[in-house]
C-alpha cells in the first residue's frame, strides 16, 4: 500500500464529510469565479456596445464647430483606400405632434448612403423629408414608419456662434419629417461617437437636407472613416494636407476687380492668426484688413450711427494714419461737420465670453477727409456678416448686438442703399487689431494682386503652410478609444468581489469549521498513525494532501457554480439592480481562462484556511485523545460562530443604513447641490447668458414676473465623455464646464474632499482663476470622478485639444465631495472662454432664488426655453440619481452579506450538531433521570439560543451605537422595513439551525451513554 492509495481510501471513506467541506470551498470559489465572469461579461457587453455604436467606423474627424466640404471625405477615402462618409451631427429636439411626446436631447445625424454602408444589416437610408429613427426614439415618441414628427436643430452658421456680430434671427430650425424606418441596434440605431453604454436618442436625416436647411449646402462637420477589424494607423496630418482644399479651411479666394485684385476671406468672418501668417508668408505683398462695426462716430453732440470702419495697411491707404489718426470719407465728414485735425469719438461693442457686450470708446484725430470717389472706399471691405450683408436696409440688420433702430436716420438708409457696407473711415491696422482682435482672428480679409493662375495656385500654397490639425481637422481613433474605454471600464469583477466579500469570508469560516470538525472525528486515527511511527509531518502531508484535493475539487466545482451565480447576478443587474449599470441586456461571457482563474483562486483561498486549521490541530500532542482539550475547542468554535453572526449583523445594518440620501440638506451651500435648487441642461446651447441684460432681452425674461428673483448661473460646456458613475466606460475625455468661480467662492459653494497643498481652503474656487503657466490651467472634479471615472489623483493632468491644434492641460487641483458636477471637469469661465473658443453659448445651468417654490419654476423655465430643449432637474434628484448607483451597490452588498450571515447560522447549526453529539452521555443521563424529550429539547435550545442571540445582539447593539447620531437626525432615512424583515429572518434561520440538530439527535430511539475514557 502506498501513501497515495491510503489518501484515496480516505477520500472515498470520508466522502460525505468531504462533500460538506467541499460546500464551503465551492461557495467561495463560486463567488470568486462569478465576480470574474461578471467582470468579463460587463467588459464584453461594453465592447459589443462599442461595435454597435460604431459599426465599421474606425476613425472620426469631428472638428468642433468647424465645417468643411463633403468632398473632403471623398479625398480622404481615395487616399486611405478606406470607406469614408461625410456627416453632419447636431443636438436637437424631437416632438411627435400627434401625442405631444417630446425628447429634449436627441442626436440628429445627417447621413447618406456612405454612412449606412458602415453597418452590415442593410440599414435604411433617409431621403428628403424622411428620417430613420432609433428604436428608443420610436419607443419614446410612439412613432412607427409612416408617422410624421418634428425635429428642431440649432441654426448653425459657419461663423462661430460667439464671434462678434454673428447673429441668427431664429436659433432653431424645425423640420417636419416622415419616419421611413426604425433602425435597431444592429442597424446603426445605437450610433454615437461618445463612449457611453447608454443608447442616445438618434434621428438620421438626409445629409443634403440637413445641410440645406442650415444653409450649409455641400458642407459637413464630421467625417467617418471605416476599415476592417484590423485597425490601421490614424490618418495623419500630412495625409489631410494632400487632400484638403481652401474651402475645408473655410477660406475663399475670389477676384474682386478687373485689375487682377484678389481677396482672401474666411467663411468664419475672422481669419485666424495661423492663416494670416501663412498668407503673409506666401504672398508677401498682400494687404490685410480688419473691418469692424462701430456703434457711432461722434463729434460735439453730432453722431453717425452704426457704421463700418476698416483698419488697413499704409500701402493701401497711401499714408499711415498713425496710432490715433483716422481717415474719413466725405460723407461722414459732412454728416459730422468735421475737418482735418478735428477729434472723433468712436463707440463700439466688445463681445465678452458669454456674448455679453461692453461698449468701449476711442478718440481719433482726423488726418484726412477723402472724397467718396476715392477707390479706397470699397464696399467689399465689409465682411459677409450673416444677417447684415443680405439686408435690404439698415433696419433689417441682424448684428448679434443690439441696434437702436431709432438712431438710424433716413440718410443712413440712403448711405446703405448707395454704398452698402462701405467703411466710412480707416484707422491703422495695428490700432484696429489692438482694439478689435478677438479669439477668432484679427483680420477680415487679405487682398493681393495676381494673375488668375497665380491666384489659383495661392490657395494650395497657403494650405501647405497650414496644419489641418491647427484648424481642428484631426482624426480620432474612435474605435480603438472605444475599445480601450470598454476595457478600462468600471471593474465589475473587482466590484462584485468586494460585494461578495462577506460570502467568501463566511464560506471560508464555514470551511474552517467543517474541516476542523472533520479532523476532530479523525483524532484517534492521527493518534494511531503517530503511535505506529508516522511523524507529524507525514501525518500533516497525508491530511493536507486530502485538503488539497478538496480545495482543487472545490475550486473546479465552484468555478462551474460560479456560472450559475453570475447568471443570478446578471439577472439582478438587468432588472432590480439596473441603476448600477444603466443598460439591460448584459451578455454572459464564459471564458475558459476565467474559469481556470476562478477555480485556481477558489482553491488558493481555501488552501491557507485548510493549512491553518490543520496546523492548529497538529500542534496538539499526538496522543489518542478522548476528553482533554475539548472544552477549549468548543469555546473556540462557539466564539467563531458568535463573532461571525455579530460581524454579519453589524455589516448588514451598517450597509443598509449607509444608503445615501440628501433630504433636508439640499439647500446648504456646502452640500453637493451648492445650495442651488435646480440643475438644468439645454439640448441647444443658449446664445446668451440669461442672467445678463442681453439674455433677459433675448429670452423675454422680463415678461415672466415669477422669474424676477430667480438666479440662473449659466455655464458653458465643452462636450465630452460622461465621467460620472452612470457611465461604465472609462472616460477618456470628460466634458468640461466653465464655472463662475467668483460666484461659487462668494457662496462658499460645495465642499472639497481634497485640495492640493498650498490652496487657500477658505477660497478654493479662486485658484481656478489663474492659469498655471503656458498650456496649463487649473481644474476641479468630483473626487469620485477623479478616483473612479478617470482613475487618476489630484495633481494629475488631463489633456484636451483646444481646437487650434493646441493641447491644453487641465491640472486637477482638488476633488469635490459628491456634487451635481459628477461627470464633469470644472475650470473657470474666464479661462474656458480663452481656451475653448469653439464653444459658443451655454447649455448647463444652476438655478436658485428666494422665491423658488415647488416645481412651478422648473416648469416655467422649461417652457420659456422650450425651443432649446431645456430639462430642469432638482439638484437633490440629480444627486440622488448618482447615489442610486452607489445605493444599488449597497443593496447588492446587503443581499450578498445577508446570504453570508445565513451561511454563518448554518455554520452555527453544524457546530451545535457536533457539540450535541459530544454531549450524548449527558443527554443519556437526562433520560436516565426521567426527563422528557421535550424538556431536554427546551433545555438545550435555551442554552444554544444564547449563542445565537449573543451574536445577533452584539452585532445589532454595535451597529446601533455606530449609527446612533444619524438615527436621531430628523433627516434620517433608516431602512426600517429592510431591518424589520431581515432581523426576524435572521433569527428564524438561526432558530432552525439550532433546533434541527437537537431535534435530530433526540429523535433517535436510543441514546446510549458512551463509556468514559481513561486517562
Amino acid at each position: 500500500m502506498s501513501l497515495y492509495r491510503f489518501i484515496l481510501r480516505d477520500l472515498f471513506h470520508y466522502r460525505k464529510a468531504f462533500l460538506a467541506i467541499l460546500f464551503g470551498t465551492i461557495l467561495s470559489a463560486a463567488v470568486l469565479t462569478g465576480a470574474l465572469i461578471l467582470g468579463d461579461s460587463v467588459k464584453y457587453s461594453l465592447r459589443q456596445i462599442t461595435e454597435l455604436r460604431l459599426g465599421k467606423i474606425r476613425f472620426a474627424l469631428q472638428p468642433g464647430n468647424r465645417y468643411f466640404s463633403q468632398d473632403l471625405a471623398y479625398g480622404i477615402g481615395i487616399k486611405t483606400g478606406s470607406p469614408a462618409a461625410p456627416a453632419m451631427l447636431s443636438a436637437g429636439i424631437a416632438v411627435n405632434p400627434e401625442n405631444n411626446k417630446r425628447i429634449n436631447h436627441i442626436e440628429v445625424v445627417g447621413i447618406d448612403r456612405r454612412f449606412t454602408s458602415f453597418w452590415d444589416n442593410n440599414p435604411s437610408c433617409p431621403e428628403l423629408n424622411t428620417a430613420v429613427i432609433s428604436t428608443n426614439t420610436a419607443g419614446k415618441l410612439q412613432l412607427k414608419p409612416g408617422d410624421d414628427f418634428l425635429v428642431r436643430i440649432p441654426k448653425q452658421g459657419i461663423a462661430p456662434g460667439n464671434a462678434p456680430f454673428v447673429a441668427e434671427k431664429s436659433p432653431v430650425i424645425a423640420i417636419r419629417l416622415k419616419v421611413k424606418a426604425i433602425a435597431d441596434d444592429e442597424q446603426m440605431g445605437r450610433f454615437s461617437l461618445k463612449n457611453n453604454q447608454t443608447a442616445p436618442y438618434t434621428v438620421f436625416i438626409s445629409l443634403d437636407q440637413m445641410a440645406g436647411v442650415l444653409g450649409l449646402k455641400g458642407k459637413a462637420n464630421v467625417i467617418l472613416l471605416g476599415g476592417d477589424e484590423c485597425v490601421g494607423a490614424v490618418p495623419t496630418d500630412s495625409l489631410l494636407r494632400m487632400v484638403w482644399q481652401p474651402g475645408d479651411a473655410g477660406l475663399t479666394i475670389q477676384k474682386i476687380s478687373k485689375d487682377s485684385l484678389f481677396e482672401l476671406t474666411s467663411e468664419r468672418i475672422f481669419i485666424d492668426d495661423p492663416t494670416s501668417a501663412a498668407v503673409k508668408s506666401t504672398l508677401p505683398q498682400s494687404q490685410p484688413f480688419l473691418t469692424y462695426l462701430v456703434n457711432s462716430f461722434s463729434v460735439n453732440g453730432r453722431s453717425t450711427p452704426y457704421s463700418f470702419i476698416t483698419a488697413a495697411p499704409p500701402d493701401f491707404l497711401g499714408t499711415d494714419p498713425g496710432p490715433d489718426g483716422i481717415i474719413i470719407n466725405s460723407w461722414l465728414a459732412s454728416d459730422l461737420g468735421v475737418n482735418k485735425g478735428d477729434s472723433i469719438q468712436l463707440k463700439y461693442f466688445i463681445m465678452g465670453s458669454g456674448r455679453e457686450l461692453t461698449e468701449n470708446s476711442s478718440t481719433f484725430i482726423v488726418k484726412q477727409v477723402r472724397p467718396m470717389q476715392d477707390k479706397v472706399w470699397d464696399r467689399s471691405l465689409m465682411p459677409d456678416f450673416p444677417g447684415m450683408s443680405e439686408a435690404g436696409n439698415c433696419r433689417d440688420w441682424e448684428t448679434g448686438s443690439p441696434i437702436d433702430l431709432k438712431k438710424i436716420r433716413q440718410k443712413d438708409e440712403d448711405y446703405w442703399n448707395d454704398f452698402k457696407g462701405t467703411p466710412k473711415a480707416f484707422i491703422s491696422l495695428a490700432t484696429g487689431q489692438r482694439l478689435w482682435k478677438n479669439p477668432f482672428g484679427s483680420l477680415t480679409s487679405i487682398r493681393f494682386y495676381a494673375s488668375a493662375v497665380q491666384a489659383f495656385a495661392a490657395g494650395p500654397a497657403i494650405l501647405k503652410k497650414l496644419s489641418p490639425a491647427r484648424q481642428g481637422l484631426t482624426f480620432s481613433p474612435v474605435w480603438s478609444l472605444g475599445k480601450e474605454s470598454a476595457a478600462g471600464s468600471t471593474d465589475f469583477g473587482g466590484l462584485f468581489l468586494s460585494l461578495g466579500f462577506f460570502i467568501i469570508i463566511s464560506a471560508l469560516l464555514l470551511l474552517a469549521l467543517l474541516f476542523s470538525l472533520h479532523l476532530q472525528t479523525r483524532i484517534n486515527e492521527t493518534g494511531v498513525l503517530s503511535a505506529i511511527g508516522f511523524t507529524k509531518w507525514q501525518i500533516f502531508r497525508i491530511l493536507f494532501t486530502e485538503g488539497l484535493v478538496l480545495a482543487v475539487a472545490g475550486g473546479v466545482g465552484g468555478a462551474l457554480a460560479g456560472i450559475l451565480y453570475t447568471r443570478l447576478m446578471l439577472l439582478g443587474l438587468n432588472t432590480i439592480w439596473l441603476d448600477a449599470v444603466g443598460i439591460t441586456g448584459l451578455i454572459l461571457v464564459i471564458k475558459p481562462v476565467t474559469l481556470i482563474l476562478g477555480a485556481s483562486a477558489g482553491a488558493l483561498v481555501a488552501i491557507p484556511v485548510l493549512f491553518i486549521v490543520l496546523y492548529r490541530n497538529m500542534r496538539k500532542p499526538a496522543v489518542i485523545r478522548a476528553r482533554f482539550g475539548y472544552a477549549s475547542l468548543k469555546r473556540g468554535r462557539f466564539l467563531t460562530v458568535v463573532v461571525l453572526l455579530a460581524l454579519g449583523t453589524f455589516s448588514i445594518i451598517i450597509t443598509a443604513s449607509n444608503r445615501r440620501t440628501f433630504y433636508g440638506s439640499s439647500g446648504d451651500a456646502g452640500s453637493g447641490t451648492g445650495g442651488f435648487q435646480y440643475w438644468a441642461e439645454s439640448s441647444i446651447p443658449l446664445r446668451h447668458d440669461p442672467s445678463t441684460a442681453e439674455g433677459i432681452k433675448e429670452f423675454a425674461l422680463d415678461d415672466q414676473p415669477e422669474l424676477k428673483n430667480v438666479h440662473i448661473s449659466a455655464i458653458p460646456k465643452l462636450e465630452g465623455d460622461d465621467a460620472s458613475c452612470l457611465n461604465l466606460n472609462r472616460a477618456a475625455r470628460p466634458a468640461v464646464l466653465g464655472i463662475p468661480t467668483g460666484e461659487f467662492n462668494r457662496r462658499n459653494a460645495f465642499s472639497f474632499i481634497s485640495l492640493l497643498d498650498g490652496i487657500d481652503n477658505k477660497n478654493p474656487w479662486l485658484v481656478l482663476q489663474k492659469p498655471l503657466g503656458p498650456g496649463f490651467i487649473p481644474a476641479f472634479c468630483d473626487q469620485t470622478v477623479i478616483t473612479w471615472g478617470l482613475q487618476k489623483k489630484i495633481g494629475d493632468t488631463l489633456y484636451y485639444d483646444a481646437g487650434k491644434g493646441e493641447t491644453i492641460g487641465l491640472k486637477l487641483m482638488g476633488g469635490l465631495d459628491n456634487s451635481v458636477f459628477q461627470g464633469y471637469v470644472m475650470i473657470s469661465d474666464s479661462l474656458f472662454r480663452i481656451h475653448f473658443t469653439s464653444v459658443s453659448g451655454f447649455s448647463t445651468f444652476l438655478i436658485d432664488g428666494p422665491s423658488l417654490k415647488g416645481d412651478s419654476i422648473a416648469e416655467l423655465l422649461e417652457n420659456v426655453f422650450r425651443d432649446y430643449g431645456l430639462i430642469t432637474t432638482s439638484s437633490s434628484a440629480r444627486l440622488a440619481s448618482f447615489n442610486a448607483v452607489e445605493n444599488t451597490y449597497l443593496s447588492v452588498f446587503t443581499l450578498l452579506g445577508s446570504l453570508g450571515v445565513l451561511i454563518g447560522t448554518f455554520g452555527l447549526g453544524l457546530v451545535l450538531l457536533r457539540n450535541i453529539q459530544e454531549r450524548k452521555q449527558e443527554l443519556a443521563l437526562y433520560f436516565a433521570l426521567g426527563y422528557e424529550k421535550n424538556l431536554i429539547l427546551r433545555m438545550i435550545l435555551a442554552e444554544y439560543l444564547k449563542i445565537l442571540l449573543a451574536g445577533i445582539l452584539l452585532g445589532t447593539v454595535s451597529a446601533a451605537a455606530f449609527i446612533l447620531t444619524s438615527l436621531l437626525s430628523p433627516s434620517s432615512h433608516f431602512p426600517w422595513l429592510f431591518i424589520l424583515l431581515f432581523m426576524p429572518a435572521l433569527l428564524l434561520n438561526g432558530l432552525l439551525w439550532v433546533w434541527l440538530p437537537v431535534h435530530l439527535i433526540l429523535k433517535r430511539k436510543s441514546v446510549i451513554p458512551h463509556p468514559p475514557s481513561d486517562i
Binding site: R9, D10, Q538
Partner: protein, 228 residues
C-alpha cells in the same frame, strides 16, 4: 535495560479551573529484555499516561525516559516517531483499525513510513506470517467493520508487531473483549513475547492478564508500587 523510567512526574490542568492534578508523582520503572510487566490501578490513576510517556507519545513534566540506554528527553519529534515505528509497538483498548482500510492494509500501515523497500517487503511477509499465526488469514481483505471485535484486536496486535518492535505497549488490550477473547488474546501476547523476544508492558484492570506477566505493578496516587 531495554527501557527505563526515572522519577517521572506529570500533571494535568483541571478543566474550568486553575488547579493542576498530579497524575504521576516521581515514578521509576525498569523493563528488561524479554521481560513482561503489568501495570494495574484504578481508573484515572495515570496508567495510560504512563504508557504514553514510555511510548514517546507524550512527554513527562520531569524525569528521564531511556530506551535501549538512550535518554529520549533531547530527541526531536521525527526521531521519536522513528523510534515508535521501529522499536515500539502499541496495542490500545480499542483496536483503532482505520475503517477505510482492509485488515492487511491496516496491518501494513506501520510499513508506510519506512523508506527502505526491502524492509517494507520484509514487513509484508512478516505481516502475512503473523496474520496466519493469529488465525486471520481468511480475513485479510475484510474491512474492520466486517470483523468481530476480537478479530480486530488481534489484527491490531499484528499491526503493532509488523515492524518487529522490541517493546510492545498494550493499553487495556482486553478491555473491550469478552472473557473468551480476552483469555485468547492474553495467551497470544504471552506466546508472542516468547516467540518474538519482546519486552511487554501491559496496562490492565484484568487480574488474569496481569497474572500472565513476569512482574506486576500497581499505580495509585501517582506512585508505582510492585504488587506483592
Amino acid at each position: 535495560m531495554l527501557a527505563e523510567l526515572q522519577n517521572i512526574r506529570k500533571h494535568y490542568n483541571l478543566a474550568l479551573s486553575d488547579r493542576q492534578k498530579p497524575v504521576l508523582d516521581g515514578i521509576s520503572l525498569a523493563i528488561g529484555e524479554n521481560e513482561s510487566i503489568a501495570v494495574t490501578g484504578p481508573s484515572g490513576s495515570g496508567k495510560t499516561t504512563l504508557l504514553n510517556i514510555l511510548g514517546t507519545l507524550d512527554r513527562a513534566d520531569s524525569g528521564i525516559v531511556r530506551l535501549n540506554g538512550t535518554d529520549l528527553s533531547q530527541m526531536k519529534e521525527p526521531e521519536l516517531a522513528g523510534l515508535r515505528n521501529r522499536f515500539i509497538g502499541f496495542v490500545f483498548q480499542l483496536h483503532f483499525l482505520l475503517p477505510q482500510l482492509s485488515l492487511i492494509e491496516n496491518v501494513l500501515l506501520p510499513t508506510l513510513p519506512l523508506k527502505d523497500k526491502s524492509l517494507r517487503k520484509a514487513g509484508y511477509e512478516r505481516a502475512m506470517r503473523l496474520i496466519g499465526r493469529m488465525g486471520l488469514k481468511d480475513l485479510v481483505n475484510q474491512k474492520p467493520g466486517e470483523l468481530s471485535v476480537g478479530e480486530c484486536q488481534r489484527a491490531a496486535v499484528v499491526r503493532a508487531l509488523v515492524n518487529k518492535p522490541r517493546l510492545l505497549l498494550a493499553d487495556e488490550p482486553t478491555g473491550s473483549l469478552d472473557a473468551e477473547n480476552a483469555t485468547l488474546l492474553g495467551k497470544m501476547l504471552a506466546e508472542l513475547k516468547q516467540e518474538e523476544g519482546l519486552s511487554l508492558v501491559v496496562v490492565t484492570h484484568s487480574p488474569e492478564l496481569a497474572a500472565q506477566m513476569d512482574k506486576t505493578y500497581r499505580l495509585g496516587s501517582g506512585k508505582l508500587m510492585p504488587n506483592s
